[in-house]
């Protein structure tokens, strides 16, 4: 289990972004990394169709030293394609092993995520509830983002976004609400984000699609 914990932490420094689309194109593979004020996570998934993806999810909650390793399924419940804008609604579910101080439990989470974007504006919301079959984890978390592109770039050019992320975790006493201003760079199949949170934590997210 030590190996599993180490692997989760190591992978987490490489990679899951809750604010990027969790499904790729048909036959596409994605690696998503997220290192924010609360946790480090990685999500590597494969999309048989644009409607769902399945893959490994590893998360490490730094404050409580909880490592989660699981299988995650992402479903696109609904997409709205409009001229100049798009909206999406997703359902995310995961099951796997929760580890804390050498103790292991079965855990799962489920939640919905939605986003709406034009080429100039972006807004998203996501929630999820984690629960293990013992006392390792029982946690609700929700996050929202707003973003604006200072310039509108065409395909093949560097896209830049200025965003504000707000995360609400009621169980995190003293850090229930964390705000993180960040900048997103997006070019081709690669996306990177950098920010600093209100509790002075560095945010770094990276996504690569293949």
């Amino acid at each position: 289990m030590k190996l599993s914990l180490t692997l989760t932490i190591l992978l987490s420094f490489l990679a899951s972004n809750v604010f990027a689309r969790p499904i790729s194109y048909s036959g596409g593979t994605t690696i998503m990394q997220n290192n924010d004020a609360i946790k480090n996570s990685i999500h590597a998934h494969y999309s048989p169709t644009y409607k769902y993806s399945v893959g490994y999810k590893g998360e490490y909650f730094r404050r409580d030293q909880i490592a989660l390793n699981g299988l995650q399924l992402n479903n696109l419940l609904k997409r709205w394609n409009m001229p100049g804008s798009q909206g999406n609604l997703y359902l995310k579910t995961s099951v796997g092993n929760a580890n804390k101080s050498g103790k292991n439990e079965l855990y799962g989470f489920t939640g919905v995520a939605g986003d709406f974007e034009t080429r100039k504006y972006f807004i998203s919301y996501e929630n999820r509830y984690y629960k293990s079959d013992g006392d390792i984890i029982s946690q609700f978390q929700q996050s929202a983002r707003v973003g604006i592109a200072p310039y509108v770039a065409n395909y093949g050019n560097l896209h830049t976004w200025l965003m504000l992320q707000v995360t609400h975790t009621p169980e995190f006493e003293g850090d229930e609400v964390i705000a993180t201003p960040l900048v997103r760079f997006f070019k081709g199949a690669h996306l990177a984000e950098f920010g600093v949170s209100s509790n002075k934590r560095f945010l770094f997210n990276f996504i690569a699609r293949f």
Partner: protein
């Protein structure tokens, strides 16, 4: 000398007209708002043997397809490729046909 000139001129003319009349189609698509949308469309059309070149223009909300000589895709195949990757076809415009 004049014959040589005519031969060279004819060859150049044939080469130029051949590429000038390569079949091109452009498609109006709804939902094309981001870099990744464009990557998705581009990658999936590039997998097809019939396609010589794919260009996605987010400003115009269009996908431009150029076919290899003598090749084509039906409107249904084009629409299915875009639809099966999560986007909506508004209109397929066949501008230059052989």
């Amino acid at each position: 000398m004049f014959r040589k000139f005519i031969t060279v001129f004819s060859l150049i003319f044939l080469i130029n007209t051949s590429s000038a009349f390569a079949k091109e189609i452009n498609v109006d698509v709804n939902g094309l708002v981001c870099e990744f949308c464009a990557v998705t469309i581009e990658k999936n059309f590039k997998k097809k043997d019939e396609i010589k070149e794919v260009k996605v223009d987010l400003d115009q909300k269009k996908v431009f397809l150029t076919f290899k000589d003598g090749k084509d895709l039906s409107d249904k195949e084009i629409a299915d490729t875009i639809k099966n990757n999560g986007y909506n076809v508004v209109k397929i415009n066949r501008e230059k046909d052989d």
